[in-house]
Amino acid sequence: MTMSKILFSTLAVSALALAAPATAKIATGSNVSDMTVTDSNGVQHNLSDFAGKKVVLEWTNEGCPYVKKHYTTNNMQKTQAMATAEGAVWLSVISSAPGKQGYKSGDEANAWKTDQGAASTAIVLDPDGDMGKAFAAKTTPHMYIIDESQTLVYQGAIDDNRSASPATVEGAKNYVVAAMDDLKAGNAVAVSDTPPYGCSVKYKS
């Protein structure tokens, strides 16, 4: 498969319309829609296609120790399975630029997904970093949850133990699971904004 390319019809995350720098953080509670991305199979998705469903975004980088922590312990896969079983769309996003750690072609991304037993819906390839910068993704992992009305309801870390040690997964509070539980119970997300932790996203510039 040829190199997939991310296409942004409109980079219109509504909250970004006024903000000057492209890296500015999107406020939790903002509407996020109308962003077209391309997955590892070359299929284009527009975030607005997923209206009515929850969408989980996970920034990832295979080589990052913090990503490894959550994949070797199966924590990320379990979280993915839980979310998709509830009907959520899970997009793992790779914003590593070509030549930088974690960059993958479509085929490589698919192989990695199979290898890890990932339960994500799709892997989005963002080698230009446009999607990453639109969301101000800083780290791998960096998690975002968008609700059925396309509102950003969670952004931040996957859990509250900021270590790279796999031993720390056990006993940590998983913020994504907690947020999904809150939404399922019909409540507002209690912890909606946390500092992400991990390796920096390996942007082109």
């Binding site: 890296t23 953080k25 120790p65 930088k100 780290t139 900021r162 904004d193 932790y197 390796c199 996203v201």
Partner: protein, 687 residues
């Protein structure tokens, strides 16, 4: 790796039985070891052990707050009985940008000293072993978590320092940020986060940066914009998510700056709440920025010169000039004497006013130039004085010798006192007309130390008196003046009318300051003047007594005028204008609106001209409506400390001041004092 071998070599060479450095451990990109300030310590003693990390070139580890990504260096101590460890003394962090991400961390060979205390119960002659299990994330373009364990045996007995390591550890401890005198406050203001600092130590703060201990306070990758004030520093950046939740009373962190060519940091506690007063701002670029003593002096000289052309001053001095020409034709020495007397009058009056201002300032009052006109008593007195001068110009009366010292003697006499007091009078009537050129200089002068204030005002006085000195000293200039003749009487009478007009204007100002009562009193004082003029025409004793009583009334009446409670009416004359306050500015900024702030006063001529010619024009009003720009008026007609403080922030001591906050910038643009439509339009567009 290379660092590891060097360390190992050093260790082998130094290795006595008990070294004050542990065997180094190579964890991959970092070589770690423990170093001690003491080879052996006494029971009950405190000493320092540091984790020493040598990083490979271009790799970095992270501070206690790692910034956008990363993880702090972590140390776990395994300690024997009777030994306690303190917290890590963190080295000064640096900002490490990678693309759009900014981290806080270290490169090179950072040292992490920790204070240890040996209990007195620990036996002399024993050996204790300090074990450090450490972990750090080390990153270049990729990140690697590394960990290891190093141990260091320390003999208990006599206290023996290790000179080499103690020096290095002491240097690291000295560089560790400590709590200083710096006061700090932090405030979310709209979409901006303002951190203000006062009581700063001496140093270069042009690249100051605040490193918060916690995450979520500010955007680590957002720039921290620096505003320097005379008393402090403000950093403006972007707030992070903590501000959406329950905010604690205080945030801590490290403010870094340059001192003696070295990066230095001081721990600061930022109280959450109102920003601190950082004093008069160093003016932002493009305005009257970079006013130095010399530019202030030159500005004051030119400004003083221009003051001569002001409508209320021109009649006074032009008549004086002609009278000099008439009375002293051919007698240059006499002209010179008159010119110097006039100059002396001008300088003395300026200096008196300046000393008065300095006195009030020393007493803590927030005042600026033009403050005299904030007092309705002064305005009323000036109105009456101008009326008297007008009557005199019309020839309604002539000052008798007994009244000569009132200083309003303009044409008939050219005695020493006359020239001196003409100078004084000219200054007094000139004060409402602070010329635009002078604003920067006067603002600078009033914010500067007393001596500088005096020097600048002296320059202003000399500039003001300069035309007369030129007439006296430049040969040929005198002959250029029109030949005296009967036309001068006519000319003098014509000049009475600007005086009356100025009096009417002051009565209008008074109506805004003191309401109907103020107007009534001022006009009654003028009636008394008329009565006095009429009475003195008669030579009878009774009329002289009544005349004197009327003069007394004309003098006393203005002193009874008081400020009325009602706020100024200026605002009602404009559409959609609101009253200015700092909190209103913050609210409007939060709404993302552009803001135009008009610092004005009823007695400010330049302000009135700008309003008439620019601000109240349909075109300008349309611009404000179309760009959804809020129009705020800060009315300084009466004394107002909040407005005076805001003026001082921009290095001004008087009005007008025009600020535009465009919706994409935090700090306002300062507009020139003479407005044009294009200037306003560009400022709102943020250009």
């Amino acid at each position: 790796m290379r660092a590891f071998f060097l360390s190992l070599l050093a260790w082998c060479l130094a290795a006595p039985a008990l070294a004050s450095q542990s065997l180094p451990v190579d964890t991959g990109k970092v070589t770690a070891s423990l170093v001690s300030s003491h080879d052996s310590v006494a029971p009950g003693q405190s000493f320092h052990v540091a984790l020493r990390t040598e990083l490979d070139d271009l790799w970095h580890t992270y501070w206690r707050n790692p910034g956008d990504s990363g993880e702090p260096v972590q140390i776990n101590w395994q300690l024997p009985q009777g030994v306690t460890a303190g917290a890590i003394n963190w080295p000064l962090p640096r900002t490490i940008p990678t693309g759009p991400i900014v981290n806080y961390g270290f490169e090179g060979a950072p040292l992490f000293p920790v204070k240890f205390t040996v209990d007195p119960s620990v036996e002399s002659g024993s050996v204790i072993t300090i074990v450090s299990e450490f972990y750090y994330l080390v990153c270049k373009d990729v990140c690697i978590p590394e960990q290891g364990s190093v141990s260091l045996p320390i003999a208990i007995g006599e206290s023996v320092e290790d000179i080499g390591w103690k020096t290095e550890i002491d240097a690291a401890l000295a560089a560790t940020p400590k709590r200083g005198d710096i006061q700090g406050a932090i405030q979310k203001s709209g979409t901006a986060l303002e951190m203000s600092f006062t009581d700063l130590p001496s140093g270069d703060f042009s690249k100051a940066y605040f490193f918060p201990y916690e995450q979520g306070i500010l955007g680590h990758s957002e720039p921290q914009l620096i505003t320097r004030g005379s008393d402090g520093l403000k950093l403006t950046t972007t707030p992070d998510y903590i501000w959406d939740n329950d905010v604690p009373d205080m945030f801590e962190g490290v403010l870094t700056y340059i001192e003696g060519g070295q990066l230095k940091g001081t721990e600061v506690a930022l109280a959450v709440g109102q920003s601190l007063d950082i004093g008069a701002a160093a003016l932002p670029k493009a305005s009257a920025g970079g006013v130095t003593l010399w530019t202030a002096i030159i500005g004051a000289l030119i400004g003083g010169l221009i003051l001569n052309l002001m409508p209320c001053v021109f009649p006074v001095i032009s008549i004086k000039a002609l009278s000099i020409a008439k009375s002293a034709h051919g007698e240059r020495s006499k002209i010179k004497r008159e010119a110097w007397l006039y100059t002396a009058g001008v300088i003395a009056t300026f200096m008196l006013l300046t000393l008065f201002i300095l006195g009030l300032k020393a007493g803590g009052a927030e005042i600026g130039w033009g403050f005299q006109l904030q007092s309705p008593k002064v305005v009323a007195a000036l109105a009456v004085l101008l009326f008297v001068i007008g009557l005199n110009l019309l020839g309604a009366f002539e000052f008798g010798s007994s009244l000569q010292n009132t200083g309003a003697e303009l044409t008939q006499k050219s005695g020493a006192a006359g020239s001196f007091f003409t100078g004084a009078l000219a200054v007094i009537v000139a004060t409402p007309c602070t010329a635009p050129l002078m604003a920067g200089a006067v603002g600078y002068a009033l914010a500067a130390p007393a001596f500088v204030t005096l020097v600048v005002f002296l320059a202003l006085a000399i500039g003001f008196a300069l035309p007369f000195l030129l007439i006296a000293y430049v040969p040929g200039l005198l002959s250029k003046l029109p030949k005296p003749g009967p036309w001068m009487v006519r000319f003098k009478e014509v000049l009475a009318f600007p005086m009356f007009a100025a009096a009417i204007w002051l009565v209008w100002v008074l109506s805004l300051q003191a309401g109907e009562d103020g107007v009534l009193i001022a006009l009654s004082a003028m009636l008394a003047v008329g009565l006095a003029v009429w009475c003195f025409k008669s030579k009878t004793l009774i009329s002289k007594v009544i005349g004197a009583a009327a003069v007394l009334a004309a003098i006393v009446f203005p002193l009874t005028v008081t400020t009325s409670g009602a706020s100024s009416e200026i605002i009602s004359t404009k559409v959609n204008a609101e009253s200015w306050s700092p909190s209103r500015v913050a609210e409007l900024q939060a709404e993302g609106r552009s803001i135009f702030v008009d610092f004005t006063a009823a007695w400010c001529v330049t302000c009135k001209v700008n309003e008439k010619l620019v601000l109240n024009q349909a075109e300008t009003q349309k611009l404000f409506t179309e760009t959804n720009t809020a129009f705020l008026i800060a009315d300084w007609t009466n004394k107002d400390d909040v407005i005076a403080a805001e003026l001082a922030k921009y290095g001004r001591a008087g009005v007008p001041l025009y600020l535009v906050y465009s919706n994409n910038s935090v700090s306002p643009a300062i507009l020139p004092q003479v407005l044009t439509y294009d200037v306003i339009k560009d400022a709102i567009a943020g250009e």
